[in-house]
């Protein structure tokens, strides 16, 4: 890919893909965080 050896292509493109997947999982796991608030007043 782009004239790169396989291992290097994995380094260049694999890590960004990993972090995007991590972000998707994080957004899913934290989907209820919006209920969180600093104070009880904020929550009401």
């Amino acid at each position: 890919m782009f004239g790169l050896p396989f291992e290097t292509a994995l380094l260049v493109f694999g890590f960004p893909v990993f972090w995007i997947l991590y972000m998707v999982v994080f957004l899913y796991v934290s989907r209820r965080w919006d209920r969180d608030s600093a104070t009880e007043d904020d929550a009401s």
């Binding site: 782009f2 290097t8 260049v12 991590y22 919006d34 600093a38 104070t39």
Partner: protein
């Protein structure tokens, strides 16, 4: 010296100062919480971009480009972890640290450590260590600013360095955290546009990425490998692991970066900030390394690899765009330098001077101490940068390895591990800093093929676990801290009983007095 370049630089400084002035007028500086944490009112996009632009320093334009030029695609091991560093930081400790810091009434990241691990020794060791290491980190920013400005404007290095130091000082004195956060927001956008512009220009010059890689392969096939030029790092997984760790998990141990969590408007801000931090990093982080690699073809006779990005910009871009790129580089330097200096001054005044030297210090005295130390750090940095400037890469790797090794377990365990206690945190900080320092200073990287960040973090983590478990009976984690940890782990509002931070201070004091009485009775 191009008038167009100077015009864009001056325009950039005027805009940044204007934003800083607007942020000051907007408020948030009426009291100490307002000055140090912007009144805890920073939203998700501003949090993401101040976190990222503070983490990404002048290193990205000098060290990263230089590493790409010297080692080819091997340099991207550093980018591999860095892309997710902000996201990891926000997702692991962001929300919990925001809640804990408010419940404990902590205003600096070092004060936060003392309140979670109640002992003056924690604050003293962490404060001194942080001031020393952030001072080193500031030195790298001053050198980067001086070198860059000298090259682009054509003035001498000593004069360029003096101008860079002067601008950074004026800018830091302008205001508190809110001014820093909002100017960081603007600067992160300038950094992104600037570096992408150079990358696109370099790729256009070489006929695209595939053509550039083919040309690199013809020049030296090892430049395309994951093991560096001449396969110099072949099989050195210990060095690779450290390169990935330093700018991924390492950020969680940087006191000037984790402060960003404490200033978020709500604990849940960490979620959206994680999204924006990732989007920004995906575009920004790999670009300087790639420009450095492409510079091998564009500038084959380059003497100083750390000048690769400046030289590519000067050679390929018109003067107006070079001015914008220079502004982007100064943005990277200043957005880190101001945060470092603000943190160094805050720690010196609140965590050392007020805590140990003059507990009755007025806010005016504390501001004077803070500004005095900022000037001292800048002057010392100027002299060192003038007399014998080390490479930006070496300083940043040294300072960040030691910082990450010393503080990573302390910050992560503070919100995740209920058995993490004061002796464990203290021993972890000392062992982590010592191991990383010795590894780097004694040159053990070459003989052991292990990165100082890897050895430092592993040793500080093991120390935290072993010492905390071994001292549970003599130094248990106080019940009120366990209570606060329980609240921070759950999604929901902070109970009323925690909102008056004075209660936490009283609990801290009561625990200390109780322990003293207990020791007295045992002695008696």
């Amino acid at each position: 010296m191009s008038g167009t370049v100077i015009f864009f630089l001056v325009l950039y400084y005027v805009v940044v100062l204007g934003i800083g002035y607007w942020a000051m007028r907007r408020g948030g500086g009426e009291d100490l919480e307002g000055y140090l944490l912007g009144g805890r009112q920073v939203g998700p996009i501003a949090t993401a971009l101040t976190l990222q632009s503070t983490s990404m320093s002048g290193y990205m334009f000098l060290g990263a480009g230089g590493l790409g030029f010297a080692q080819g695609y091997w340099a991207l091991w550093y980018a591999a972890g860095d892309i997710g560093g902000g996201l990891l930081n926000l997702s692991v400790i962001g929300r919990r640290m925001r809640k804990m810091s408010q419940m404990m009434g902590a205003l600096t990241s070092i004060e936060y450590l003392e309140k979670r691990y109640p002992s003056p020794a924690i604050r003293l060791v962490a404060g001194v260590l942080t001031i020393f290491l952030l001072g080193f980190y500031v030195l790298a920013q001053l050198i980067a600013g001086g070198k860059g400005m000298a090259l682009v404007t054509g003035i001498s290095y000593p004069l360029a360095l003096a101008i860079a130091v002067g601008i950074i000082l004026i800018y830091t004195f302008m205001g508190g955290y809110l001014a820093v956060a909002y100017t960081d927001f603007f600067q992160s956008l300038v950094m992104l546009v600037g570096v992408m512009w150079i990358l696109i220009a370099a790729l256009s010059e070489l006929g695209g990425l595939t053509a550039a890689n083919t040309a690199l392969s013809e020049l030296d096939p090892t430049l395309l490998s994951v093991w560096g030029r001449g396969l110099g790092f072949e099989g050195q997984w210990g060095v690779v692991a450290g390169a990935i760790l330093i700018f991924s998990v390492g950020y969680m141990g940087w006191p000037h970066v984790v402060t960003r969590h404490m200033a978020m408007s709500r604990p849940a801000t960490a979620r959206r900030a994680g999204f924006w931090a990732t989007i920004w990093s995906l575009f920004f982080v790999p670009a300087p390394y790639l420009v450095g690699i492409l510079a091998i073809l564009i500038l084959p006779g380059l003497d100083d690899p750390e000048m690769a990005i400046f030289q590519v910009a000067g050679q390929l871009l018109p003067a107006a765009v070079t001015g914008l790129v220079m502004a982007a580089i100064m943005a990277a330097i200043m957005s880190t330098a101001d945060s470092l200096l603000l943190q160094t001054g805050s720690i010196a005044s609140r965590d050392i001077y007020e805590r140990f030297i003059n507990p009755r210090a007025s806010e005016r005295q504390m501001v004077m101490v803070s500004r005095g130390l900022v000037v001292a750090v800048a002057v010392i940095g100027y002299v060192v940068a003038l007399v014998e400037p080390p490479t930006v890469f070496s300083i940043v790797i040294f300072a960040t390895s030691v910082l990450g090794s010393a503080f990573l377990p302390a910050y992560v365990c503070a919100v995740w591990w209920r058995k993490a206690n004061t002796p464990g945190a203290l021993a972890s900080m000392i062992v982590g800093a010592t191991v990383a320092f010795v590894w780097e200073y004694a040159g053990l990287v070459n003989t052991t093929e292990l990165h100082p960040m890897l050895t430092g973090v592993v040793s500080s983590t093991i120390t935290m676990i072993v010492v905390s478990l071994a001292t549970q009976t003599i130094s248990p984690v106080p019940a009120y801290i366990l209570d606060a940890m329980g609240v921070s782990s759950k999604v929901g509002p902070i109970p009323e009983r925690f909102l008056a931070a004075t209660e936490f201070d009283l609990a801290n004091e009561a625990a200390a007095v109780g322990k003293a009485i207990e020791e007295d009775s045992q002695d008696g």
